[in-house]
Amino acid sequence: MTARSKPKKKPVARPAAKAPARPAPKPAKRAPAPGPKAVPTETAPTGTVFFVLEDDGTVARGKDPNLPRDVLLFLYEQMVQVREFDRRMLMLQRQGRIGFYGPILGQEAATVGSVAALEARDWIFPALREGAAAMMRGLSLTTAISQLIGNELDRCKGRQMPCHYTFKEGNYYGMSSVIGTQISHAVGAAMAARIRGDDVVVLGYMGDGATSANDFHCGMNFAAVYRSPCVLFCQNNQWAISVPCSKQSVSETIAQKGIAYGMPFVRVDGNDVLAVYAATRDAVARARAGDGPTFIEAVTYRRLGHSSSDDPSKYRDEAEVKAWERKDPVDRFRRYLTARSLWNEAAETALKERIAKAVNDAIAAAEAVGPPADETLITDVFAQVTPQLREQLADAMAVAGKRVNDGAFPL
């Protein structure tokens, strides 16, 4: 970036004094009810969690953001769809119809609430568990399942493991499996949007484990230094495979890592779709207004194994899982909607039937598609296929026999 376009330094509030050492907040203290319009960001670690919905779906007086009915129903229907899709894909994996799957049960609100707060022109850089964002942006279920199968309809052309969607029309970036790398990409894309003068905000996701990765630190720093129009969103689901968040980092909260980079931050109940929506909406508005990046920690929980290959009973206590079930994001929000007469049994049944049919149809359609053509092995390495690659493919095809994938993915 040139000196001319270098943003002027705006003083960022810093903590007045070193926060006194204190035990990790478990359960976390909750902030006093703030109004819906402004989700307060923090400059000192307080460990508070911003929320709207109580665990039972009720809302404290004055706290209801009173979102329009269509937004509320959109959020709910998306969450139910994400959950159903997730459940069915895990089943397909168990039946051997797809090779691997990374479930997101319990994290639906974090993805749905944050993506819903964006405009369609804003970009999304997902981590492992935000595939639903691609579908919210319009990736068809059939194409999504085709990715999981790795067939000819897969936009990655069968080159990536399952759960690596890519959807450029939806401004949804196709990630690698390497933890954290997308953080810098999100920041760079936001820098580019700013340099180009585009009214585009970038939402970059990561897990709690990713906050230990190099790219988290350079990404956060670049984001803040260039006041890039992005929101960096950490889904703290408490686990990175078998490593609990408490061993990943001993800072009191993930959110407060924003302090080190001079970035406003907010810690939000990730199982509360209204809170996630509000916090992201505010952060996006700041970015759009030229006020720079925000770091969001969504406190949530990975209720199943890390992936279809993981057995979490080896390293964590079932009671912890049970405790988080009580904070189920879908149940909480349904109770809220029901209490407002926006939802009822009949609507629920109809929605579930509609989703089940859509998923069934998509599975059937995707499973009818064959594998990518052999030639796709050598295309897209470069814009043009090299003579060497052509020769390599011809050699292999001349002797290619039966294809057997004999391994089983361990993770």
Partner: protein
């Protein structure tokens, strides 16, 4: 002795039948008992025992001081390992998949590899970096790569790849005892395929010594890791067609046992190099050059490479990408008909 040959055998006294994976655990356990400077760390190696189970039981036996989970940072894992090694410990760092080692590339290439040379021998880095590598598990782009060539190209690193359970144990113990940094790359595809007899307790297979995995007289196959088993199957097939195939399992890529390579090629007059990494600038290119330089006058046909494609690693088309029996057989034929 191959892993498959001993599959159904009862172990002799002093041996135990193990998978390659179990042999790796056994090596670490043995050395941790022997030497309290040995520590094991990496992502998920503690309670979970590693995503493949290579460190199962180590934290229970040796405690969290000597077998511990790290934050998700390969750079941190290797950087801290370098610090421990130069302080006098014998760290074993696990990188969950070799595909994820690149955030630590700088620590390995600029620091670990050069520590001894740049400090005039004052500081050294006796560290083992263990990592599962290679294809065959439906891992797609980022859980399948064979990156050995990068490390072979870095002076100061030893590169070791076992192909049998007994070698896995013996080579890992030798690597832990070695005075220099060792990249110990584990062919994860054969972690649990086939078992073999492994000596109990102390068992050292010296670095820098290859192994004749199969004797033959018409053509030599040079290979390592999971490809040894593919080549053994191909050799069986070739034998039926009247070609007697010798297989050299290199075991250590750096330092290379040149003698075993050259003697075999001089004997057979033909060489096929099999590796699953991308063909261009792969380790097989080095072997081909070596043969051309040092025994071209014994060759009766071209040195043929059978390798992975010069593409990133695929998912669905993995079976097309990976060298298999048919491609190895075709490679053998090319040394006769050209």
């Amino acid at each position: 002795m191959t892993a498959t040959e001993t599959k159904t055998q009862e172990a002799r006294p002093g041996f135990k039948v193990m998978t390659l994976l179990e042999a790796i655990t056994d090596a670490m356990r043995t050395e941790m008992r022997n030497d309290d400077r040995v520590v094991v760390f990496g992502e998920d190696v503690g309670k979970k025992g590693g995503v493949f189970g290579a460190t199962l039981g180590l934290q229970d036996e040796f405690g969290e001081q000597r077998c511990f989970d790290t934050p998700l940072s390969e750079c941190g894992i290797i950087g801290a390992g370098v610090g421990m090694a130069l302080y006098g410990m014998r760290p074993i760092a696990e990188i969950q998949f070799l595909d994820f080692i690149y955030p630590a590339f700088d620590q390995i290439v600029s620091e670990a590899a050069k520590m001894r040379y740049r400090s005039g021998g004052e500081y050294t880095c006796p560290m083992v970096i263990r990592s599962p590598y290679g294809g065959g598990i439906r891992g797609g782009h980022y859980h399948s790569q064979s990156a050995e060539a990068y490390f072979c190209h870095t002076p100061g690193l030893k590169v070791v790849i076992p192909s049998t359970p007994a070698d896995a144990k013996g080579l890992l113990i030798a690597s832990i005892r070695d005075e220099d940094p060792v990249m110990f790359l584990e062919p994860k595809r054969i972690y649990r395929h086939g078992k073999g007899e492994v000596p109990l307790g102390e068992h050292v297979v010296p670095l820098g010594k290859g192994r004749i995995a199969r004797e033959g007289k018409d053509v030599t196959i040079l290979c390592y890791g999971a490809m040894v088993h593919v080549c053994e199957q191909a050799a069986e097939e070739a034998e039926k067609a009247g070609r007697s195939v010798e297989i050299v399992d290199l075991r250590t890529l750096v330092p290379l046992d040149e003698q075993i390579v050259l003697e075999s090629v001089k004997k057979t007059g033909r060489a096929v190099v099999v590796y699953e990494a991308p063909k261009t600038c792969g380790y097989g290119a080095e072997l081909s050059a070596l043969i051309a330089e040092k025994c071209i006058e014994h060759l009766e046909g071209p040195v043929v490479r059978v390798a992975g494609f010069d593409t990133p690693f695929p998912y669905t088309l993995e079976p097309l990408y990976m060298p298999d029996v048919k491609r190895v057989l075709a490679g053998i034929e090319k040394t006769f008909v050209w």
